[in-house]
């Protein structure tokens, strides 16, 4: 399913026809916002890669190339929706309100979290999850809770809540994803399974994970599934919007396979030349999601001031996070013990006290 051709021309494929209305309801500023989201996130992402090279981060997993899949789905989610990301959804997090520097702090390994998902300013964005697939049953359980609490399914799209969960083509092989789909189908959850098939799980091609389209798998559970051009932000938006609204209306879970490409390395520790060809990378470079949306907007008459403004926002964000992450304080050693439990715990108190005393013994030169 595609709405924009790689060259930016508006040419919905036949399967996209039912979604035309959703796309046509987008006004110029909404369309421009999606471009802005993608381009600014890319500037941030490239800055982050540089920061890792400079030793500011332990590691960086770029979102490069996946901006359309992410921004479309994130803009499709309504403010009351809850997002369960994996670890590469930088565009999603930013769109939902998470301060991007928090993601840097996480990848600096200055924190295991980064933001407070219960603080409304973070747009109900749950934390990144590093153990592949584990967030998927969490999303399903959360969505079950929406059902039990009657926070969904009333028919009022402005209020009914739904859940979006992100995972990758590699993670799709994990048993947790399967069990989450079993539960979702069984409890008819208001939930969108959003799979970014970026062709690679580190060095392993998607062909190793699946003989046919991954979309067939979710369909096998009775979960209606669309396979979309994941580099088309409008396709991602429209499909996500439709499915999320169906799910929130009580229709049960939905799934999207967004076919996209990890244009960069898996992370800054990775060297893709070991396992994939330049030709493949170049062929996908021609399908760059940002160039596509830019061409579309240009065709519609967006001017160079707009693009210059976006570039400037990107640079400003990059500069801002660069400064802030360089000043990022190391956590207090005592924080190791602070939140292991919510309630008092004898060992935590003992060990925190021991460490404090031990550290103090070095001050003033005594060992």
């Amino acid at each position: 399913m595609r709405i924009l051709e790689p060259d930016g021309s508006f040419a919905p494929t036949p399967e996209a026809e039912p979604l035309r209305e959703i796309v046509e309801a987008l006004d110029e500023s909404a369309l421009e916002q999606m471009y802005r989201d993608m381009a600014v996130t890319r500037a941030f992402d490239q800055q982050a890669t540089m920061l890792q090279r400079q030793g500011q981060l332990a590691l960086w997993p770029p979102s490069l190339g996946q901006e359309a899949a992410q921004v479309g789905s994130a803009r499709a989610a309504r403010s009351q929706d809850t997002i369960f990301p994996s670890y590469r959804e930088h565009a999603v997090a930013r769109v939902r309100g998470v301060d991007p520097v928090s993601i840097l702090a996480l990848m600096r390994s200055a924190t295991h979290g980064g933001w407070d998902p219960t603080d409304p300013k973070n747009g109900n964005t749950r934390l990144y999850t590093l153990v592949l697939g584990t967030q998927v049953p969490h999303a399903t359980g959360f969505a079950m809770g929406l059902n039990f609490d009657g926070r969904t399914g009333s028919g009022d799209a402005e209020k009914d809540e739904a859940v979006v969960v992100y995972y990758g083509d590699g993670a799709a092989s994990e048993g947790d994803v399967h069990e989450a789909m079993v539960f979702a189908a069984s409890y008819s959850t208001p939930e969108l399974f959003f799979l970014q098939n970026n062709q690679w799980a580190i060095s392993v091609p998607v062909a190793t994970q699946a003989a046919g389209p991954l979309a067939n798998r979710s369909a096998g559970y009775g979960i209606p599934t669309l396979r979309i051009d994941g580099n088309d932000v409008l396709a991602s938006y429209a499909a996500s919007r439709m499915y999320l609204d169906e799910a929130r209306a009580g229709g049960g879970p939905r799934a999207i396979e967004a076919v996209t490409y990890r244009m960069g390395a898996h992370t800054t520790s990775d060297d893709p030349t070991k396992y994939r060809t330049k030709a493949e990378e170049e062929s996908w470079a021609r399908r760059d999601p940002i160039a596509r949306m830019r061409a579309f907007l240009e065709n519609r008459g967006a001017g160079s001031e707009f693009f210059a403004d976006v570039d400037q926002e990107g640079e400003a964000l990059a500069a801002d996070v660069r400064t802030r992450i360089a000043e990022w304080p190391d956590p207090d050693p005592a924080s190791m013990f602070a939140h292991v439990y919510s309630e008092p715990h004898a060992l935590m108190e003992q060990q925190a006290a021991w460490l404090a005393e031990y550290e103090a013994s070095f001050e003033g030169g005594a060992a």
């Binding site: 809770g145 947790d176 919510s342």
Partner: protein, 326 residues
């Protein structure tokens, strides 16, 4: 005061029922816990009385059960999960160790994880493979979890309520062979705190410590020993993480000797933790090493051999003799 005599499983059921009555966010999840009331009938009638949204017969997928319980906790529920038998908790192990145990910490305290995982555990029921194991060590080693095990109906009744009231994940180990054992439940007065160990029989020559089904074995050993003129103090440790050491150390300081008993295999287990900590904290009081009695370091054997595998009063007494002879 309201005392009622009931079997352990009924006390569990009453405790769950009371927790559900007192807090509408408490819900139960598991395999066959609804219509059937659980294979041990611990949740009997609870689905009938609280409905299908509060007592869920889930699909058969333990990682899915614990994973969705985590999501439900994020949505403000207090899920109580039943794992059907000890040997079937392992498919959920990843969700328990990498997620449930760590999520509060990962969130830097902005959320809590009030999930209880009930595990009927241990031997003595003559069952087939995977149905008689004691996996507590795996959980006691995992930071972020709390691990407790009641040994009496009264503790069952209160500890399950305290576990549900805890904002932290609690692994709740139920000694399944005791489900049918009757005891008095005082429904008016809370039992000792969830993580307190308790001296349940006074004595002066040696301290016997254990949990769950081992507690009655220790009491039996103590009364046999009494006949031989040996006075045993018996402690029900009740909580395996954290462990309440003070009553144990106090006792060992006075008796100078200790035997620990557990059903689980001995290697790298709770027994080693307790023995080495007691050795550290009561070094000068110990007149013999802490003796550990445990299952052997083999898979739980076919039930026809369980009487050889499981520590009984004789095995405990053999260790008592060794400690006294030291």
């Amino acid at each position: 005061m309201t005392f009622e005599t009931m079997p352990f499983a009924r006390a569990m059921n009453a405790g769950l029922r009371r927790a559900m009555e007192e807090n509408p966010r408490v819900m139960l999840m598991g395999e066959d816990i609804g219509k059937l009331g659980g294979v041990f009938r611990v949740t009997e009638h609870l689905q009938r009385d609280f409905g299908e949204n509060r007592v869920l017969d889930t699909p058969l997928a333990e990682a899915g059960i614990v994973g969705s319980a985590i999501g439900l906790a994020m949505a403000g529920f207090r899920p109580v999960v039943e794992i059907q038998f000890d040997g079937f908790v392992f498919p959920a192990f990843d969700q328990i160790t990498t997620q449930l145990a760590k999520l509060t910490n990962r969130h830097e305290g902005t959320i809590s994880m009030p999930v209880v995982i009930r595990i009927p555990y241990g031997g003595h029921i003559g069952a087939i493979e995977h149905h008689q194991e004691s996996p507590e060590a795996y959980f006691a080693h995992t930071p972020g979890l709390r691990v407790v095990s009641p040994s009496t109906p009264n503790d069952a009744y209160w500890m399950i309520q305290d576990a549900i009231a805890s904002d932290d994940p609690v692994i709740f180990m139920e000694p399944k062979s005791r489900y049918w054992q009757k005891g008095e439940v005082d429904t008016d007065h809370r039992a000792a705190p969830l993580h307190a160990s308790r001296v349940i029989r006074g004595g002066s020559d040696i301290t016997l410590v254990g949990h769950g089904a081992m507690v009655s074995v220790l009491l039996q050993a103590a009364s046999i020993a009494e006949g031989e003129g040996i006075s045993c103090e018996v402690i029900d440790v009740r909580s395996l993480s954290p462990i309440d050491y003070d009553p144990i150390i106090d006792s060992v300081r006075s008796t100078g000797r200790m035997v620990w008993a557990q059903e689980a295999p001995g290697a790298t287990s709770v027994g080693g933790e307790i023995a080495s900590t007691v050795a550290e904290r009561a070094f000068y009081s110990l007149e013999a090493p802490v003796m550990r009695v445990s299952g052997y370091d083999v898979p739980f054997p076919p039930a026809k051999l369980e009487s050889f595998y499981l520590p009984d009063a004789d095995r405990v007494l053999e260790a008592v003799d060794r400690a006294l002879a030291f």
